[in-house]
């Protein structure tokens, strides 16, 4: 029987949750790297036992950990992230130029075909790549070297490159998103980039339709339709059908269009999920009700999914990297909260149950769908 492995990054360590295809009984292992912030960990689709984890701390800086056995054991690999050439400046909160300074790795995206190749999105925003299993990391400077770089400014959480989406049909195309610069696309393997923010509108910046400056929270893609992207912006759910050349709003009947996560059903490219969050600054579910909203039409028409989720006195947040889907026949959806719960649904969101309730604040959730040869539970 196939299985699933849920990789959970938290404020105080990493956890690995495993189950068989029924997804009713779970084994919880961890904490790994106890006491460290694990912004993100993710497995290679080319080799599911190859995992990468971003381990950081205010005291000791950044480490990258690698596992070759599905998370049972880990080894630190390279942690040197040095900007290419003279780093230059971006815009600081007060509008003054501020030198680019590496702070941490927000997101790790393994190559779809090579377990030794992975991308790292970092704060201050830049994209790095390793081709030797994480031993060495080199910046792809064309992104930061885009003419708009000096205008990028941090969101409240920092100037983080938090989203990396690889096109499974075109190895030279990828999408990234930065808070608060916006979304960018490369069509030449990362050498050159262009902003893809046409159609986004953000009233919080001087020119609401500016080429850059939008606070994009997350982008999701279904691998069968790589030109269709869904975006949770600071406010607004957005959709593009032309790989980002133009976006249109599909927030529709959501109770609020603020939120962080967005994801796509594994087998239904027009079925998408968000978790609306009250803002500005509250950043918890509306009315104390934790609700996932699902659209089966690619946006605009949304239905609340509540069965098994707390419907009163719930004031947690769901951060941008904390939702994922598995690829089993009955698609599983998972998300983690800042209250330390990881919820799972094995029926595409119709019903939910907590897998674990009392972890440290969850920063990220990723899922691996394992073939029978690798499923252990």
């Amino acid at each position: 029987m196939s299985g699933v492995r849920v990789l959970v990054g938290t404020r105080k360590g990493a956890f690995v949750l495993t189950s068989d295809g029924k997804r009713t009984k779970w084994d919880v292992s961890g904490p790994f790297f106890g006491g460290w912030e694990i912004y993100h960990l993710k497995g290679s689709s080319a080799d599911p036992n190859r995992l990468y984890a971003s381990q950081s701390s205010g005291w000791f800086g950044q480490l990258i950990q690698r596992s070759n056995d599905g998370g049972k054991t880990w080894e630190p690999v390279g942690n040197k992230f040095v900007y290419d050439g003279v780093p230059g400046t971006h815009q600081w909160y007060d509008g003054t130029p501020h030198p680019w300074e590496f702070k941490r790795v927000w997101h790790l995206e393994p190559s779809l075909t090579d377990p030794d190749t992975a991308y790292a999105g970092v704060e201050d925003a830049a994209l790095f790549r390793t081709t030797d299993g994480g031993q060495n990391w080199h910046e792809l400077p064309g992104l930061r070297g885009h003419g708009s770089g000096p205008q990028w400014s941090p969101g409240a959480g920092g100037l983080g490159l938090h989203t990396i989406v690889l096109d499974p049909t075109n190895a030279r195309r990828m999408f990234i998103a930065i808070s608060a610069a916006g979304a960018f696309r490369t069509d030449d393997g990362g050498t050159s980039w262009r902003p893809i923010n046409n159609g986004l509108r953000s009233e919080q910046i001087p020119d609401p339709s500016a080429e850059v400056g939008h606070c994009v929270h997350r982008i999701a893609m279904h691998p069968s339709q790589p030109n269709v992207l869904f975006m949770q912006k600071h406010w607004d759910i957005m959709r593009t059908d032309d790989a980002g050349d133009s976006w249109r709003e599909v927030s529709g009947n959501l109770p609020t269009d603020f939120g962080f996560v967005i994801d796509v059903h594994a087998h239904e490219p027009q079925t998408i999920y968000v978790v609306p969050i009250k803002s500005d600054s509250e950043h918890y579910p509306m009315d104390g009700q934790l609700r996932v909203f699902r659209s089966r039409s690619g946006g605009n028409d949304w239905e609340p999914l509540t069965k098994g989720l707390p419907q009163k006195d719930c004031y947690v947040n769901v951060l941008r990297d904390a939702m994922a889907v598995d690829r089993l026949d009955s698609c599983g959806i998972y998300f983690g909260t800042t209250g330390g719960q990881v919820y799972g649904s094995s029926d595409a969101g119709d019903t939910w149950a907590p897998i674990v309730r009392d972890l440290p604040a969850v920063l990220s959730v990723e899922v691996q769908t394992l073939p029978p040869s690798l499923a252990e539970v």
């Binding site: 006491g35 460290w36 701390s57 205010g58 005291w59 000791f60 800086g61 950044q62 480490l63 630190p76 942690n79 040197k80 992230f81 040095v82």
Partner: protein, 114 residues
């Protein structure tokens, strides 16, 4: 301030055996249970000790001082002989009791909540 006049204990190829105490998380990374002993050649300074420490335990590169600037991470402190050496120049000589191995060089994580 501690004395610099005590004789050094020279071992091996003229190096001195220096004791270094690391905070728990760095001991875990370096896979050591207790203080470490390093042979350091030349004047005993913060830089010389950290260079030797990182050469012995490469996993610690970047965790105590920045990869590029080589500056001490803000939430770490360097103590020796019950004094704070964190703000001294990295090439300033450390007390002779550190050089002789009588006292350790301590890398200390600042107390902070959260």
């Amino acid at each position: 301030m501690a004395s610099f006049s005590e004789p050094r204990r020279s071992l091996g190829e003229g190096g001195l055996m220096i004791r270094v105490v690391l905070p728990m998380h760095l001991r875990t990374l370096a896979r050591v249970d207790d203080e470490v002993t390093l042979e350091v050649v030349g004047p005993i300074t913060q830089r010389a000790i950290l260079d030797a420490l990182e050469a012995r335990y490469p996993v610690l590169c970047g965790t105590i001082r920045d990869h590029v600037t080589q500056q001490r991470r803000p939430f770490l402190r360097f103590f020796a002989c019950e004094e704070d050496w964190s703000h001294e120049l990295p090439d300033a000589p450390l007390p002779s009791k550190v050089a002789t191995g009588a006292e350790p060089f301590l890398v200390v994580g600042a107390m902070a909540g959260g």
